[in-house]
């Protein structure tokens, strides 16, 4: 047997016949390079599979979470400069028109702004006052009284809704006694 045939047999995955095997073994007794080839091939074929330390999947999950957070940060940091730049460009382009509009409509705009600020402040104050009152009342009223009060309010709302509905229908002439 020649070395070339031996190598071909080795790289071929098909199982060897008894005769082929005997020929190979005889060949390797006389050919040291083919013997080394066979030894390394045997070693590689019987090499074992290594496994990672316990908790690999958990460590990967942590890494994935960190990567996701970094990715979100990176995206956000990418969006902010572009958004700022975009708004600045828009503002710069719109400024001549905006300036003209503001000069022309200065009084109405300031009135609307004042009205908006008044509404906002009133709503905020009402909310805070309600929270204080509710906070104080909660300590005085029993759950039964709360239930009665809420039911009463709901009933009043229902009556009010029905009255409004009937009033609307009456004004349109569709309602009759």
């Amino acid at each position: 047997m020649q070395c070339r045939f031996f190598e071909e047999q080795l790289s071929n995955d098909a199982p060897l016949s008894i005769e082929q095997r005997q020929k190979s073994e005889t060949h390797t007794l006389h050919c040291s390079s083919c013997a080394a080839l066979m030894t390394t091939d045997e070693m590689l074929r019987h090499a074992r599979m290594l496994s990672p330390a316990d908790g690999f999947a958990a460590r990967f999950e942590t890494r994935l979470t960190l990567w996701k957070a970094a990715e979100r940060r990176r995206k956000l940091l990418g969006i902010i400069p572009f958004s700022v730049l975009g708004f600045a460009l828009l503002f710069w382009l719109a400024w001549p028109y905006l300036d003209g509009f503001l000069t022309w409509q200065a009084q109405p705009i300031s009135a609307w702004l004042q009205w908006g600020a008044f509404l906002f402040a009133t709503a905020l104050a009402s909310l805070q006052a309600s929270l204080v009152v509710l906070g104080v009342l909660a300590n005085f009223l029993t759950p039964l009284i709360w239930m009665a009060a809420i039911s009463g309010a709901a009933g009043l709302s229902l009556i009010s809704s029905i009255s409004t509905w009937r009033l609307i229908r009456a004004s349109q002439g569709t309602w009759s006694r």
Partner: protein, 201 residues
């Protein structure tokens, strides 16, 4: 539809649980590949995790006609090849495998005899040392062939090579490994002779 494919499709739709299951299924395959390529437990762990991360990032590119394992191993092999090329100097330390406790091998009931185990371990270390002397791509081809029973076509797909290139690389690698094996054998015989030739003997 295989389980892997079903899980990969679920993961592609945003299910992290499905991807975790894939990690649990393939962690040994990927880790073994990285360890055989890089030769260090710590580097192998890092590379295996990076492989899974890259797979997660590129799930939309996964071609469902290919087995998921092959696709994953392809990512791992490419990553390790890049890493070895960046590193240039291969740093192999087989001691880490046993000393730091992060790596273990599946128990082989056939080799419970300590002496046999010791001989086997020595031969394994030697093989690993020889493997580290191969070029990164050749090493990946050998690992995919012998540890994962990949066909030449699958190796070619995984490493983006032609089938003939894979054949030639495998042939060259086998020859190189055998040559190195012989060299080491010759060197050890010479050392033995020198020891016996010393006056004390």
């Amino acid at each position: 539809m295989t389980d892997d494919l079903a899980l990969a499709l679920q993961a592609r739709q945003g299910s992290d649980e499905a991807f975790t299951q894939l990690v649990e299924r393939h962690q040994a395959h990927v880790y073994n590949l990285c360890y055989r390529m890089l030769g260090e437990a710590e580097a192998a762990e890092d590379a295996a995790q990076e492989t899974f991360l890259r797979a997660y990032q590129n799930l939309h590119r996964y071609d469902r006609s290919r087995p998921f394992t092959t696709w994953l191993l392809s990512i791992g092999a490419h990553y390790c090849i890049d890493r070895l090329r960046r590193r240039k100097l291969p740093a192999f330390s087989m001691d880490e495998e046993r000393d730091d406790g992060t790596t273990f091998e599946f128990a082989d009931p056939a080799s419970l005899d300590p002496e046999t185990e010791s001989v086997e371990r020595e031969e394994r270390d030697r093989l690993h040392r020889l493997l580290s002397k191969l070029d990164a791509t050749d090493r990946a081809a050998v690992i995919l062939r012998y540890w994962y029973d990949c066909s030449e076509v699958e190796i070619a797909q995984s490493l983006k090579l032609t089938v003939s290139a894979v054949k030639s690389r495998l042939h060259r690698s086998r020859r190189a490994l055998a040559g190195l094996w012989q060299e080491e054998d010759d060197a050890s015989i010479q050392v033995e002779r020198k020891r016996h030739a010393m006056p004390v003997f």
